[in-house]
């Protein structure tokens, strides 16, 4: 009976995110020893998560909006087009031609913003299906660097060098990743405006990566670019809403040319690959949340600028006092090349099981 009460106490602490140290070990011990408690824990965990989804109020609408933004066509066109295709018995499967129909050329001939549509999904699909033909290029092959080689202040401005971080005021700090394993995190410090007197709503750091090897090693099908990092917000509750995330811009020309148009012409890009989210705050510890941006690699792209940002959600200027407790960690950049599609992936035909 006493153990039962204690289990409930620990469970309640877990659901309220207050379980720490010895209590964590105690709950773990209970779960290891008692299979029936594992089942009960899972039931409560599921109940808690469902409550979060159900009671999220307007988040359901936000979820739909956000998903539609990631689809290749506009909200207004989406449903009628799907319905029309179903009516005609065509389905709405993504066509290669359609993907490039969504590519928007913007601002200057040098810049190509590519909408993220079903692209990320096609990658995930390829991993899951039996057709695992992807070849992954990463880090050195693309000139990409994480934070390991960098300590202290991030160089200001925009460096025309592949694999070098630069940008707004930020710093890279050493951290212990656990078990004595050294690591490094990026700390967003302040915004910096490109135009005097005009305050900015974001702190951004950038890096140029080299896509030429990825282009040379295409395997006849899609190549998918993924830029990903973990983010944490260690502010106390209160203050303005700040989102963090990743962006990818594709370029046709050399780094010098990119720097010459950055950011004035890039600011006009209407459709770039980017995803930003508000991270649940935790002042006491790094509570990381991974965010990934993905896109098909445009056949003409030679370089990309990848950007990590912390920005005010409502677009208003972000004051210095609101920054300094936002962090990014473990950035990764990969290009996965696939062979030609050979047919549908057997993921179930929709028949009732």
């Amino acid at each position: 009976m006493r153990e039962r009460a204690r289990f409930e106490e620990l469970l309640a602490l877990y659901l309220d995110e207050e379980l720490e140290g010895a209590e964590l070990a105690e709950l773990r011990g209970m779960l290891e020893a008692r299979p029936e408690l594992r089942k009960e824990w899972a039931q409560w965990f599921q109940f808690h998560r469902m409550l979060g989804v159900l009671h999220g109020g307007g988040r359901g609408d936000a979820f739909v909006r956000s998903t539609l933004e990631r689809l290749p066509i506009s909200d207004a066109e989406f449903s009628p087009r799907v319905v029309e295709r179903l009516r005609r018995g065509e389905g709405a499967g993504r066509k290669e031609r359609g993907v490039w129909g969504w590519v928007k050329r913007v601002a200057a001939p040098l810049v190509a913003g590519v909408l993220l549509g079903g692209l990320g999904a096609s990658v995930v699909w390829a991993y899951n299906g039996p057709r695992i033909t992807g070849r992954v290029l990463s880090e050195g092959e693309l000139g990409f660097q994480g934070f390991e080689e960098l300590r202290g202040e991030v160089p200001r401005g925009f460096r025309a060098e592949v694999g070098k971080w630069s940008g707004d005021p930020a710093q890279v700090l050493p951290v212990d990743l656990g078990g004595g394993k050294p690591g490094a995190v990026l700390r967003f410090l302040r915004t910096a405006s490109d135009q005097p007197g005009q305050p900015s709503n974001s702190c951004d750091v950038f890096q140029i990566v080299d896509l030429r090897k990825a282009q040379a090693e295409r395997m006849g099908g899609d190549s998918v670019v993924e830029f990903s990092a973990r983010f944490a917000d260690r502010r106390e509750p209160g203050g303005v809403r700040v989102e963090m995330g990743c962006q990818i811009y594709f370029f046709l020309e050399e780094p010098d040319a990119i720097v010459s148009i950055w950011p004035s012409q890039v600011q006009d890009v209407e459709s770039f690959v980017g995803i930003h989210k508000e991270i649940p705050r935790c002042a006491d510890a790094f509570r990381w949340k991974r965010i990934s941006a993905r896109a098909l690699l445009p056949p003409e792209a030679q370089y990309a600028v990848i950007q990590l940002s912390a920005m005010r959600s409502d677009g208003l200027p972000l004051e210095e006092k609101e920054l300094g407790q936002q962090y990014a960690d473990s950035p990764t950049f990969t290009v996965t090349s696939y062979g030609p599609r050979t047919g549908p992936v057997p993921v179930g035909n929709g028949r009732k099981r």
């Binding site: 309640a12 965990f45 808690h48 979060g52 549509g117 999904a121 096609s122």
Partner: protein, 169 residues
């Protein structure tokens, strides 16, 4: 998507292990469904097809989490994760029923109890802030939240058992 967002998000959230991004998985599910809509056979079960996609997306997320070095140092004992994984293979209908009944039970809560749920799950405010707002101690707030959850769970379980008896009859 509007029709399916809640059941799919609910199902993914219920099975996504701690540390996983349930909404990201749910979004990928819809994006994949759109991309593969040409492969859906009209006249078959669209919901079952979408949930099949959700299962694949969730497996990918679980695989990704396993690769994270610090994941197990937070809170995801293997055995608990396995318990959630086992449930992934169960029919999605029960989770959908649970979601539906949970909505009903929430609606039936008294104003005071519902306020705690809103603070916790909609506004995500801290226990300390809840205590400040109600003039109670943090311990009392914790207890109140637990009681409300228990009440809701009992309500849902009762509705499920009544439904089960109805089917048997």
């Amino acid at each position: 998507m509007k029709a399916y967002q809640r059941p799919v998000r609910g199902w993914v959230a219920a099975h996504c292990p701690p540390g996983g991004d349930a909404d990201e998985v749910a979004q990928k599910t819809f994006i994949a469904a759109y991309s593969r809509l040409g492969e859906f056979q009209e006249g078959t079960n669209l919901a079952a097809w979408i949930f099949t996609i959700a299962r694949y997306q969730l497996r990918t997320e679980v695989t990704r989490l396993r690769r994270l070095a610090d994941y197990h140092s937070r809170f995801a004992p293997d055995l608990v994760e396995r318990e959630l994984e086992r449930r992934v293979e169960e029919p999605e209908g029960e989770v959908c029923d649970r979601m539906r009944y949970l909505g009903d039970c929430l609606g039936a809560l008294g104003e005071s109890a519902r306020r705690f749920v809103e603070w916790r799950y909609r506004e995500e405010i801290s226990l300390e802030e809840m205590a400040g707002r109600t003039g109670r101690s943090v311990a009392a707030v914790k207890k109140q939240l637990w009681l409300v959850r228990q009440k809701l769970k009992e309500c849902v379980d009762l509705k499920l058992s009544v439904q089960g008896e109805g089917r048997l009859a």
